[in-house]
Amino acid sequence: MTATQEKPVVEAADFAKAAINAKLTKKEKIRFLREMFRIRRFEQTALKYYQAGGSMGGFLHLYIGQEAVAVGTVSLMGKNDHVITAYRDHGHALAVGMGMNECMAELFGKATGCSKGKGGSMHFFAPDKNYWGGHGIVAGQTPLGLGLAYALKYKGLKGCCMCFLGDGAVNQGVYHESLNLAALWKLPVIYIIENNQYSMGTSLERSSAVKNSLAERAEGYGIAWDIANGEDLYEVRAKTWNAIRRAHDESLPTVLEVDTYRYYGHSVADANAKKYRSADEIERYKTDHDPLRLWQDLLIAEGVLTAEAADQLDAEVKEEAAAAGQFAIDSEQPLPQSIFEDVYWEVDNKTDAGQTGRHFFGE
């Protein structure tokens, strides 16, 4: 069964009253709306170019429908809090503050891309913003996130690492090895399972045997866990904050499962996007559970902003996305010799080590 069916139904209102939310200023609430719009418009623009063909290659995994998860969790990050995720990484990248330009240019494989065109859609990075990618191998990032937490504890810094993974990723062994290490060594890592109910075309029921939920597997390691409704920004923030406090104050891990949904296929190449899920299901989520619409309506109801202001904000974001597309188009292709750059730090930095012995073979 999906975790959804199990978790106690709670009023969004409860979470609005949570201290971490109660103290939010109007400005902050509006910024969250803007961040969610940025993700959605950025990806819709990218999709347009992808489908037009010729400018992008490889995969394009869209985050649309899950925006409240990245924006809500990232909104709580402090100086020493870090983020790492899988290949569905545009949302987290924009949420930590990456510019649309370098992200769009990366999709185009241009030299101006955040990864110089070397990583593509699955590999956005911004270490200067505590953002560590962007990883293509399912669950491959889970021990890396553990390591970021290890480094924080080793250095005596009060921080944590939020490591995102999908509902299908929980069945990679390395995630379990990481859970045991996190509990055994009391590491401030938060595993956030973005449960969008499908791993490619496979529903959670067909991929995971559970008692009640995926997060509950943490119980076997004595790790605290919780489940959150990902359509509600307030709830995401409230429950993530509990985990962050546990990490900061007790240096303990948490597994947080967030129920969410992706509107598009697994990737743009997903020919069966509407085969393994009913059109109704997708429609229901878009109409009744859209995190953007819900948040916008909430803010309007709260009197935080007017419908007009919201449209205005959206219009600005659309322009930002359109400009990013143009930026990507106008950017230069990386130079052929750059193929051999960024392989070895010592070579790139022309150190003695980098100039001793042969590092590259063939032509």
Binding site: K118, G136, I137, G168, R206, P336, I339, V343
Partner: protein
């Protein structure tokens, strides 16, 4: 009949499922989704849950499971969505599929096939573009084939499934949509037999997988523009290897250029070059040349990945260097 590489493999799987009740297809999205690259399209509908099985994202678990099942006589054909994902199951493949027969003194064998695409060129990035045929071939106990055409893919796949040792079949996403002549009637291609894809006398281009097409393109241009007649030898199978065919051709042309999408250091072409110079040194009129993928992780940038893989231009240059 003109058939795609994808369809040829699909037919091979269907025919073997019908031939042997112990053949079962297992992998991620192979059943209800019809395969991430549609190689298993229609098989689940046709043969049902028992013969075509969707697996969770647990390559080490389900490939190890397939190996164990094969010890009891099941003949699992495991799909890796990308061969790159074999690295999370590496211990199972190398140690359990590769070493258990030996460590048991021959008391068991593992008739398992592990198949999927292993190639760069589609801008999926460094983690999804590994070509581990050299690693597999380094491992006694394992076998590996890399078909370059639909005809070879079907014949080799059927043979691999019937083979009583573990066989790794490395396909190519860039070839799935390409078409070749494939006969109506059933046929198999033995492992360990190379194929001369083009006759020539001046130089031998030795390749496997998609690099064979790169070599053929180069051979065309060499003839048309330089009057050089290149023989193109498709290894098809890396282990077992048709060493005789390699030596025979090079002994005839006295020159060899190896075209290989492996990274250079200890790539398959390193083994072939070492073998040629060791066994027919005196037949060589020039050093054996190698054309590999440029020696860096697979780059995403569509503009650059194109030139990171071996190109006909680079092959031609090497040939002109020694002819």
């Amino acid at each position: 009949m003109l058939t795609t590489y994808r369809k040829a493999i699909n037919e091979a799987l269907a025919e073997e499922i019908l031939r042997d009740e112990n053949v079962v297809i297992i992998g991620e999205e192979v059943a209800q989704y019809n395969g991430a690259y549609k190689v298993t399209e229609g098989l689940w509908e046709r043969f049902g849950d028992k013969r075509v099985v969707d697996a969770p994202i647990s390559e080490a678990g389900f490939i190890g499971m397939g190996i164990g099942a094969s010890m009891l006589g099941i003949r699992p054909v495991m799909e890796l969505m990308f061969w790159s994902f074999a690295y999370v199951a590496w211990d199972q493949i190398i140690n359990n599929a590769g070493q258990c027969r030996y460590m048991s003194g021959g008391l068991l064998n593992c008739p398992i096939v592990i198949r999927g695409p292993a190639n760069g060129g589609t801008n999926v990035g460094a983690t999804h573009s590994h070509t581990p045929e050299n690693f597999i071939a380094n491992t006694p106990g394992l076998k590996v084939v890399c078909p370059a055409t639909a005809y070879d893919a079907k014949g080799l796949m059927k043979m691999a499934i019937r083979d009583n040792d573990p066989v790794c079949v490395m396909e190519n996403t860039l070839l799935y949509g390409e078409s070749w002549e494939v006969p109506e009637e059933e046929y198999v291609i033995p492992l360990g037999v190379a194929d001369i894809k083009r006759e020539g006398k001046d130089v031998t281009l030795i390749a496997h997988g998609r690099a064979v097409l790169t070599a053929l393109k180069a051979a065309e241009i060499l003839e048309a523009e330089h009057g050089i007649y290149a023989e193109v030898l498709d290894l098809r199978s890396i282990r077992p290897l048709d060493e005789e065919a390699i030596l025979r051709s090079v002994a005839k042309t006295h020159r060899a250029v190896l075209v290989d999408e492996n990274k250079p250091f200890c790539g398959v072409s390193a083994q072939i070059a070492a073998t040629i110079q060791e066994k027919i040194f005196d037949e060589l009129d020039a050093p054996v040349q190698r054309v590999n993928s440029l020696d860096a992780p697979a780059i995403y940038s569509p503009a650059l990945e194109r030139i990171q893989l071996p190109t006909p231009e680079r092959v031609i240059q090497k040939v002109l260097d020694i002819c």
